[in-house]
């Protein structure tokens, strides 16, 4: 039996292509719908087999221009199909509600930090869409490696659409910080 909960558990095992956490922890998952398109399906024959079910998954991209979207779609379709036997899996990318760093789970934040990627605080003014000046500001993250506050913004743009680069003057490591959107 394919349920929303089962689909969600499958999605929790799919890592983001550019981030070392699952797409669910990253906050991409908006909705799952399990549909039974063949309305004439005879209820007396019991629950429909997975091959008669259509699964629709609404995902929210971090950035509109994220080049990993096609890869995410392919991975979701392939894994949900192989884990559940469903042959009709569809992924829609939606922009409502908009993605923001606030959607990243607590577990996801902790996991990112252990990989050297920091996330703006939920309460930081930057998270509301304000601009971060290209200087160390009150909203600057602590170094994920040594915890020092002596960090500076090296570049507002990083290796992926959603990250910027900081440098820690205490332990002399570079680290990535998610853009405050």
């Amino acid at each position: 039996m394919i349920t929303n909960e089962r689909i969600r558990r499958v999605l929790e095992t799919i890592p983001d292509p550019e981030m070392p956490i699952s797409i669910v922890d990253l906050g991409l998952l908006h909705a799952v719908r399990v549909l039974r398109p063949d309305a004439e399906h005879d209820a007396s024959r019991g629950a429909p087999s997975p091959s008669h079910v259509r699964v629709e998954i609404d995902l929210i991209p971090t950035f509109v221009g994220c080049p990993a979207l096609d890869m995410i779609r392919e991975q979701v379709c392939a894994k949900v199909a192989s884990e559940t036997g469903c042959r009709d899996v569809r992924v829609n990318f939606v922009h409502e509600p908009p993605w923001s760093v606030d959607r990243i789970s607590a577990a996801g934040r902790e996991q990112l930090r252990s990989f050297g990627v920091t996330v703006p605080d939920r309460s930081s003014p930057g998270a509301a869409g304000a601009l971060v000046p290209l200087t160390v500001s009150g909203a600057a993250p602590a170094c994920p490696f040594c915890g020092a506050a002596q960090v500076e913004l090296t570049s507002r743009f990083g290796p992926t659409r959603c990250k910027m680069i900081y440098y820690c003057n205490a332990c002399r490591n570079s680290f990535e910080h998610l853009k405050p959107v």
């Binding site: 509109v64 869409g129 290209l134 743009f157 990083g158 659409r161």
Partner: protein, 259 residues
């Protein structure tokens, strides 16, 4: 509202194409700088911003395509030059001069911020949702452009003079950015494109002047006359055809190719 009255489809298509075409052409022009920007960090930044502009255009073409039953690829690459609605500013060749590129980006980003802020308040909910998302990303681009302009104007005498020259040279086409699209009044009165808190040219030139003022610069920005018709009505500059030929090359060979 969830669905758009039929009478507003054409005006909304005009408006959204003006934004999407600006972003497609600007993003394409800016892509020329990948590998050539002054420093490595800027190369990454500017390439990322060009990618954002083209992605924003793609999302708006997709939105228009769903309104009219068209295809996003055809809207992007398959129209005649006079069917595009971009401002002439984005078409101009930049002569591979970094000051020209920054001035153009600065002028355009300030307009995009204003347009997207209005659309994010639209009563047409699917459009407001998309615009809100684009606006959040647009602000990163605007902050980047403002930062460059301020720093170069406050830098060495040569940097200041070259930045000033570019800002001045592009001021006239930039002032035509706010040319209204056909039928925009109907969108405004219906709340699909809610009016700004003031007149668009005044808001745009005020925002531009504020950044320049921080660097002690005052530019004479004046709107073109009310009889002006330009890029928003399909009047293309000479540079446009060559640019379109280049970016539409793959589409013309294989219209079904995936982006």
């Amino acid at each position: 509202m969830e669905t758009l009255p039929d009478s507003l489809t054409t005006p909304l298509v005009e408006l959204l194409l003006s934004i999407a075409d600006d972003k497609l052409i600007l993003g394409s022009r800016n892509s020329d700088w990948t590998g050539l920007a002054p420093i490595l960090e800027e190369d990454i930044a500017f390439s990322a911003l060009a990618q954002d502009d083209i992605a924003h255009a793609a999302s708006l073409y997709e939105f228009v395509a769903q309104l009219t039953g068209d295809r996003a690829d055809r809207l992007a690459y398959g129209r005649q030059p006079e069917e595009y609605r971009c401002a002439q500013l984005v078409e101009l060749e930049d002569g591979f001069d970094w000051a020209n590129v920054l001035a153009r980006q600065f002028y355009c980003d300030h307009l995009d911020e204003l347009r997207l802020s209005r659309l994010a308040r639209s009563c047409y909910r699917p459009l407001a949702a998309l615009a809100a998302r684009l606006l959040a990303e647009e602000r990163l681009s605007l902050g980047h452009a403002d930062g460059w302009i301020s720093r170069l104007l406050g830098s060495t005498e040569e940097a200041r003079q070259r930045m000033l020259a570019a800002l001045t040279a592009l001021a006239a086409p930039a002032c035509a950015l706010c040319e209204p699209t056909v039928g925009v009044e109907a969108l405004e009165s219906a709340g699909v494109y809610p009016p700004a808190e003031g007149e668009m040219f005044a808001l745009w030139s005020g925002a531009v002047a504020k950044t320049l003022q921080g660097a002690g610069v005052r530019l004479d920005l004046r709107p073109p006359g009310s009889e002006y018709t330009g890029g928003r009505r399909g009047r293309r500059s000479e540079a446009f055809a060559a640019l379109l030929d280049e970016i539409a090359e793959v589409y013309r060979v294989e219209p079904e190719a995936a982006w």
